[in-house]
């Protein structure tokens, strides 16, 4: 069963005088273990598509099915819970909570899931080792570099053991060294643990690392390396 199925998704914004068709009948399928980059010019609908897949926004029409569950028809309260247990997010601006330490930032999501203290502590330690930051647990985000903060954000996204991780331009605020380090880390996790990553990006380095590249333009899929390789 695919991890994510996007079926004839459209999204139209009617707040402006002229309606904006952000997504125009997109059909996509994502399997477990994918390392996919969604690319396209600004305003092509990358972030809107990610928001649909993450349950952060509802499509005007169409469905988003995550491992058999249609999240487009889910009530708001259940959707919040679904996101907590099934979807991980990595944001462009890291969005770590500045008053919490690294450890507290990562374990926060597990506390929302009501996991035990023991399980939480073990998972945090394991993740921070994987991120290469085992000695930064007691440090606050402001004392970390951009690359380190983004790695902590990745750890937070992985902490909840999600079915997949959505990363919206995760390397946009990073220098080249940090970008490489982050991408290597994510690729490693993808290889070793079969973690599914879906990026929206402008960054060629991400595209180069990705196993699959989906190109959007004007809310439509105009290119999918998966289809090309199958052909």
């Amino acid at each position: 069963m695919p991890v994510i199925e996007v079926k004839k998704i459209t999204k139209t914004y009617t707040e402006t005088v002229v309606p904006v068709h952000a997504l125009n009948g997109i059909n996509l399928t994502f399997e477990r273990g994918e390392f996919t980059a969604i690319v396209g010019p600004s305003g092509c609908g990358k972030t809107t598509l990610l928001n649909m897949m993450g349950g952060l926004d509802k499509p005007t029409s169409g469905e988003v099915i995550i491992e058999g569950t249609d999240i487009t028809r889910m009530p708001a309260g259940k959707l919040v819970d679904f996101r907590l247990h099934n979807i991980g997010f990595v944001f462009q601006s890291y969005n770590l909570i500045p008053v919490l330490t690294v450890e507290e930032n990562v374990e926060f999501i597990m506390e929302l899931q009501h996991r035990s203290k023991n399980e939480t502590h073990n998972r945090v330690t394991q993740l921070m080792e994987a991120m290469g930051l085992p000695d930064k647990l007691a440090v606050k985000p402001k004392y970390l570099s951009g690359g380190q903060q983004q790695r902590v954000a990745v750890a937070r996204a992985l902490a909840s053991k999600p079915k997949f991780i959505l990363a919206d331009e995760p390397t946009a605020n990073l220098d080249s060294v940090s970008t490489s380090a982050l991408l290597d880390l994510m690729a490693n996790l993808n290889e070793k643990e079969n973690t599914t990553f879906i990026f929206s990006t402008h960054d060629q380095r991400v595209v180069d690392k990705a196993k699959r590249v989906i190109t959007l333009e004007d809310g439509k899929v105009i290119g999918d390396s998966n289809l090309i390789s199958k052909q």
Partner: protein, 371 residues
């Protein structure tokens, strides 16, 4: 608040301990025109009955009548209070307000103690003589010269202008007043809170007499006290409304400042109800912290000024005309602080509602991008 409360409390204390006592008993109709014939014939025995009550601190019967006080150049109407000096000292602090001379003491015949304002009006001083024109119980007019032995100054300039004090034995002799009788009996209680209870008791014990509490005897003070209470209520209300807006403003800023953070929390799966509770708790804690700091500052300031007093002597005459002392000792009861803390919490919760609702109504996707 403490300042206004202190002024009112002092005014009440002053009125009770200088002028009226807690309870006053007189013949029915006496207070209408201060007719000397409206007397309590068995005042001494009534005094004995009253003294048996544990709540009573002191009792003092006296003769009270209107008279004319004259000197060579001026004359004015006054109210003579003929007192048993020892008993009167027990119910009234007036003797502590003597600024010149003494409050009786050496049993001189026809000695008189008058107020500063009256002394100024009559241009007299200690050892001066005043001629009092009085009416006897038979209705005849009589005259007597009194020697000023003491001049007092209270917080009430009207009182100082009108009230004079002589010894009971002197007036009794002059106007042929019955020996065991009195015009009125002043009662001082150990606790002001017992006024209503004792008043009702004496009303039932002495149904032929008029029994009144200090609130009735000093209606002006009662009116001013309730006016001050109402003003305080309005004052506090205005401050609480301002507090509410202040809280709304501060918390709204806090929420908007953390749009990205809140957006992230909503994205990763924090329930909106938890975000709501988080904002409300922050509001309440912030308000309680502010309240605690404010309380400490307020208690410290009030305590300091309660001991040292605030000198308003520059407002002197104006304050005295209303019966207020020029030295104010601010005071606030514990009950007020407790009510205020509760109100602050309630206002904080009401004020925090709007920012909390704003927080949970954010679009997580837009918020996380800082939009």
């Amino acid at each position: 608040m403490a300042f206004m409360n202190g002024m009112t409390q002092q005014q009440i204390y002053s009125a009770i301990h200088t002028e009226t006592g807690h309870i006053q008993i007189n013949a029915k109709g006496f207070l209408l025109n201060y007719d000397i014939l409206h007397l309590i014939p068995n005042a001494d025995s009534i005094e004995g009955v009253i003294e048996k009550n544990d709540e009573v601190a002191a009792v003092s019967p006296r003769i009270q009548m209107t008279a004319m006080a004259s000197t060579a150049g001026t004359s004015t109407g006054v109210m003579i209070n003929a007192v048993d000096v020892k008993k009167q000292k027990a119910v009234s602090d007036l003797y502590q307000s003597v600024v010149r001379g003494t409050y009786f003491g050496d049993e001189k015949t026809n000695s008189i103690v008058i107020g500063q304002q009256l002394a100024d009006k009559l241009h007299v001083n200690v050892h001066s003589r005043i001629v009092m024109t009085l009416q006897t119980v038979e209705g005849d007019i009589t005259y007597a010269a009194f020697t000023v032995v003491g001049i007092f100054r209270t917080h009430n300039s009207d009182f100082d202008k009108q009230q004079v004090f002589v010894q009971k034995k002197d007036l009794q002799q002059l106007i042929n007043f019955p020996p065991h009788a009195a015009s009125l009996i002043t009662i001082l209680l150990k606790k002001t809170e017992d006024t209503k209870k004792l008043k009702e008791k004496f009303e039932s014990e002495f149904p032929s007499l008029q029994v009144q509490g200090w609130e009735k005897l000093s209606p002006m003070i009662q009116v001013m006290s309730s006016t001050v209470d109402q003003m305080a209520l309005i004052f506090v209300g205005i401050i609480l409304i301002a507090l509410a807006f202040g809280i709304i403003n501060t918390m709204l800023m806090a929420v908007l400042d953390r749009t990205r953070e809140i957006g992230m929390l909503l994205c990763i799966g924090m329930k909106p109800s938890k975000v709501f509770r988080m904002v409300m708790l922050e509001t309440v804690f912030m308000s309680l912290t502010g309240a605690a700091c404010g309380l400490l500052l307020s208690i410290g300031t009030i305590k300091y000024f309660h001991h040292s007093g605030i000198d308003l002597s520059k407002l002197g005459e104006g304050a005295n005309a209303l019966g207020y002392s020029t030295m104010v000792y601010p005071a606030l009861g514990l009950g007020f602080y407790v009510e205020l803390v509760i109100l602050v919490i309630v206002i904080a919760m009401i004020g925090g509602l709007f920012p909390a609702l704003r927080a949970i109504r954010m679009n997580p996707a837009e918020a996380v991008r800082g939009e």
